[in-house]
């Protein structure tokens, strides 16, 4: 069984490679390479896999999941300029893929310690574009 909690954060970012020139960055990343950045209302969905506990009836307490997401993701990311304020995006280009993967990295260890099996992090950059990260599973 899969359970999912959805949260939101607003952040700005720039997608460009400092080793490349403006024309190359524009060709690679399009308008996402505008040097002063742009913003999104990101939506993150965190999915846990498991079986309902016979006593509580819960796979995992969604209030605790909310707290984990708020602490590990929303507080550091919300209303930030990712490239300037959130590691590792000072040196890793904050594409949707890389941000989703970073969210997985931040959530998986504390959730594993709380005996929760992280199944998927889904990150919507816009309503029409989202990335699923399943950790190391192929």
């Amino acid at each position: 069984m899969l359970i999912t909690r959805r949260e939101e954060f607003s952040a700005s970012h720039v997608c460009l490679n400092p080793a490349l020139g403006p024309e190359q960055n524009r060709a690679l990343y399009g308008a996402d390479a505008n040097p002063h950045g742009h913003g999104h209302n990101y939506v993150v969905e965190v999915t846990i896999e498991g079986d309902p506990d016979p006593v509580s009836g819960m796979v995992f307490d969604l209030k605790r999941l909310k707290d984990f997401i708020r602490r590990e993701v929303i507080e550091p990311f919300d209303h930030r300029f990712l490239n300037r304020e959130v590691a590792p995006f000072d040196r890793v280009v904050p594409t949707t893929e890389n941000v989703a993967r970073e969210i997985w990295r931040r959530l998986e260890p504390p959730l594993a310690q709380a005996a929760a099996r992280l199944h998927r992090v889904r990150l919507y950059e816009t309503e029409d574009l989202y990335v699923d990260c399943f950790g190391d599973r192929s």
């Binding site: 280009v93 594409t95 029409d128 574009l129 989202y130 990335v131 399943f134 599973r137 192929s138």
Partner: protein, 137 residues
């Protein structure tokens, strides 16, 4: 594993009606979907691509995907009568299931040109006929 999904929209009309069945059987099987003048939907199409994150931080170039979907699917399906305007549906009932199969075949045919090996793989096609009816493969 990382999977990137892009969502597209196309309005289209269709009629569910099989020549191999009687009118009564069509009505019994397809209900209102067999109304003779057809009906329409604002279809939502999700195309998912899977692969590793490349050196540019991406699973796939979105502009390449958008161009491929436009050329292979949306150009023909958008504002179309699926039964009359899309050749595959002249002899095949355009249920969402069959529309997904046709979309997958069209994208698969153009995929090697858009994403030469060892590029990202076409993963899932998901089609929302309405918010409540969803088919994916």
């Amino acid at each position: 594993m990382i999977r990137l999904t892009r969502r597209y929209h196309f309005p289209a009309s269709h009629r569910l009606h099989s020549r191999e069945l009687s009118e009564e059987a069509n009505r019994a099987l397809y209900g209102k979907c067999s109304n003779p003048h057809g009906h329409g939907h604002d279809y939502v199409l999700e195309v998912s691509v899977a692969g590793p994150i490349d050196e540019h931080g991406r699973v796939a170039d979105r502009a390449v995907l958008d161009r491929l979907v436009e050329e292979c699917v949306l150009g023909d399906f958008r504002h179309a009568n699926l039964n009359r305007d899309v050749p595959e549906f002249s002899g095949t009932v355009p249920t969402s299931e069959n529309v997904v199969l046709v979309i997958r075949r069209r994208l698969a045919a153009g995929w090697p040109r858009a994403y030469p090996a060892p590029g990202p793989k076409l993963d899932t096609i998901r089609l929302y006929e309405t918010k409540r009816n969803v088919v994916e493969q």
